[in-house]
């Protein structure tokens, strides 16, 4: 029984990383209605920027400075993604950004591979040696940090989206860009700002995921993108609290099935979980009030 509890808690805790990346995905897909496949790669790219810049400047890699670098790197990458993949593409073809962001994903991956010759880079972690022990039962300290940061990001984003003018403008632009423009909103500026904000969030997510895994490699981008999309759909498109709960749910669910059904079938059950939601509760955990 303890084993099950430990597996579940490890999974749920690891689900915090899915939650963190899920928030960004649900923001991009749900609130901004943008098809951005490169979000996972931009997050990992942001984490790399942090590592590279700090290592180049200081030689050593203090964790907090690297996280700050990742934050800024993520923001800059967010802006680049907006300019290259969304700014010049007319809204009349909604599928075009899907493809331009796919090209961006391949580009970011390849740049990372060329800078690091494809080798995994050791990523500094915070509290990674902290293991809360309750007798046999253990909880990983660094994942609790990830969870805390995810909740903090949620609060910050909810405040930004629903309390500030930028948030209002973002939602207006997302729902009807032309109408928003007619109301005097500079759509390009709002979009750019929102992409930078999601980029910052992506940078943090990439950094903390790199810290929890311990090494950063382009191998991370595809699973992150797939998990991010699944968490977004299960949590409810556009619902940030939904993304967090869904992230924890998927993490726990995945780990339990890895324990009982083995790793080759584990992902199949995650897909079945997703299908269950799509069929029985298409709106997700917290359906948007449409």
């Amino acid at each position: 029984m303890l084993d099950f509890l430990q597996t579940l808690s490890d999974g749920v805790l690891f689900g915090a990383t899915y939650a963190l990346i899920g928030i960004g995905f649900t923001l991009v897909f749900g609130v901004m209605h943008k098809l951005n496949l490169s979000y996972g790669a931009a997050s990992v790219g942001g984490a790399y920027c942090g590592l590279m810049i700090v290592k180049a400047l200081l030689g050593t890699t203090p964790a907090w400075l690297v996280f700050l670098g990742a934050l800024l790197g993520g923001g800059v990458l967010g802006w680049i993604v907006y300019v290259l993949c969304f700014h010049f593409i007319p809204l009349s073809n909604p599928l075009a950004p899907l493809m331009s962001t796919m090209g961006m994903l391949l580009l970011i991956d390849e740049v990372i591979v060329h800078l690091t010759a494809g080798m995994p880079q050791n990523y500094p972690a915070v509290f990674d040696d902290v293991m809360l022990r309750f007798g046999e039962f253990t909880l990983r300290g660094d994942l609790l940090v990830v969870f805390a940061v995810a909740v903090l990001c949620m609060i910050g984003l909810l405040a930004l989206l629903y309390r500030t003018r930028l948030g209002l403008a973002t939602r207006a632009v997302a729902q009807h860009a032309v109408a928003a423009e007619l109301c005097g909103i500079r759509v390009a500026r709002v979009n750019a700002t929102t992409f930078v904000v999601t980029g910052l969030l992506g940078g943090i997510a990439g950094a903390l995921i790199g810290a929890s895994v311990g090494a950063l490699s382009p191998l991370l981008t595809t699973p992150l993108t797939v998990k991010g999309l699944i968490v977004t759909v299960i949590g409810g498109l556009g619902s940030i609290p939904g993304a967090i709960v869904a992230g924890l749910l998927v993490g726990g669910f995945e780990n339990v099935f890895q324990q009982f059904r083995g790793v080759t079938e584990r992902d199949m059950y995650v897909m079945l979980l997703l299908f269950a939601f799509l069929v029985f509760r298409p709106g997700g955990l917290f359906p948007a009030k449409s």
């Binding site: 050791n122 990674d128 253990t138 090494a215 382009p218």
Partner: protein, 392 residues
């Protein structure tokens, strides 16, 4: 208009002079993008470095006694099956006499598949091009085609000797627990067909093994299974990214086996760069370490061409010298319109080989076109690979 005509004539003449000096083209190909990019870079550097050394020694003696320089051209197959196939067909279209590669086992299998299965089998329209593989290491691939040869370490003998040696070095060890990268062809075959087998053959009790995927990041369940098994030896058959992930989780859960064994491909710079601290003490059998004079020289020359020397790139280096030896033994013509005949000679030459001179000593050639290379055991100590035991 006249001036141009004269300039053209001069150029042609000069071109003509240049043509006197013969070249023999060897095409290398491997993965220079994606997560295994470092393998491609190192292999390319090793091939060019070896060619440079051979050319400095005068090049290859052809049938008519003249000497030919070796020209190397390297293609990137991005570790995908389709590109591997189109590259081998592209090489077949050039005047290259032999192809050295690929890096990934999942490229090697389809590539060997399109080669002619049996030599001189008129009914089989497979490609008739000799391929001398340096890196793709999955056990038992050369059997697929008689045009495919490999100079990759024979993991079965290496791990068998390692498990035997471990019994002498650490008398108390009896039990082994494995960790497998289930969806990577090489890692999966190396555990089930090699490590598990050899451990049991050497009298160990294999308690069980955990499984994970190539890009997994959460190993808590697997390491807990490892902890419950409480085996003396933990053998991880995985590539650097997940090996580091598992080692870090083992540190977190306080799992410290008496002996830690790794996969041959993980005895590279990547593992040290990814998790030097956690990988401290891991023992890996490998077919190369700069212990011999030739080994050190090869490593230095390859470094000049911006490549790292490890078991994979040094296999490429050895391939170059073996090919020189075969080309001279089979007296290839080096003539462009006898290209197919030269290729056939190289294939037959490689098939005839019983032994080759490797960097660590003599390599035995097996009947199914594989290699049985000398090996030694290296251990990660203080952030670099140190030779632990040299059974030669």
């Amino acid at each position: 208009m006249k001036k141009i005509a004269i300039a053209l004539a001069v150029a042609l003449a000069a071109g003509g002079a240049y043509a006197q000096e013969k070249t023999v083209k060897i095409a290398g190909f491997g993965a220079k993008s994606g997560v295994v990019r470092s393998f491609g870079i190192n292999s390319e550097a090793a091939l060019i470095a070896a060619a440079d050394v051979i050319n400095k020694q005068g090049g290859v003696k052809l049938a008519d006694g003249s000497k030919a320089k070796i020209a190397v051209e390297f293609y990137d197959d991005r570790c995908t099956a389709e590109e591997g196939i189109s590259i081998i067909r592209r090489i077949y279209g050039t005047d290259a006499v032999v192809a050295v590669g690929p890096t990934c086992s999942n490229v090697a299998e389809p590539l060997y598949g399109i080669l002619q299965k049996k030599v001189d089998d008129k009914g089989d329209s497979g490609l008739q091009m000799p391929v001398f593989t340096d890196v793709a290491i999955k056990v038992g691939l050369a059997r697929i085609s008689e045009w495919a040869f490999r100079n990759v370490p024979n993991e079965t003998t290496m791990y068998s000797s390692l498990f035997y040696w471990l019994k002498t070095k650490y008398p108390g060890v009896q039990s082994v627990y494995g960790g497998v990268e289930e969806d990577f062809a090489h890692s999966r075959a190396s555990w089930y067909a090699v490590m598990k087998d050899r451990a049991e053959a050497n009298g160990y009790k294999v308690i069980g093994n955990s499984k994970w995927l190539l890009n997994d990041t959460n190993f808590s369940t697997q390491v807990r299974e490892m902890k419950n098994a409480n085996a003396d030896i933990v053998a991880i058959s995985a590539h650097p990214f997940t090996t580091c992930g598992v080692l870090k989780e083992m540190q977190r859960q306080g799992v410290k086996p008496k002996v830690l064994v790794g996969l041959t491909s993980s005895s590279s710079l990547e593992t040290l760069q990814g998790c030097a601290k956690q990988a401290e003490g891991i023992i890996i059998p490998t077919s190369f370490a700069p212990v011999t004079k030739e080994g050190k020289a090869a490593a230095e020359t390859t470094a000049k061409f911006k490549g790292a020397a490890d078991l994979h790139s040094m296999a490429a280096w050895e391939n170059m010298f073996i090919l020189k030896q075969v080309m001279e033994a089979e007296r290839i013509s080096g003539d462009k319109n006898q290209l197919q005949a030269d290729r056939r000679k190289i294939r037959d030459g490689l098939a005839k080989l019983k032994e080759t001179q490797g960097l660590l000593g003599v390599t035995r050639r097996t009947a199914d076109r594989e290699a049985d290379k000398p090996y030694l055991f290296v251990q990660a100590r203080g952030g670099n690979w140190v030779v632990l035991h040299n059974p030669l």
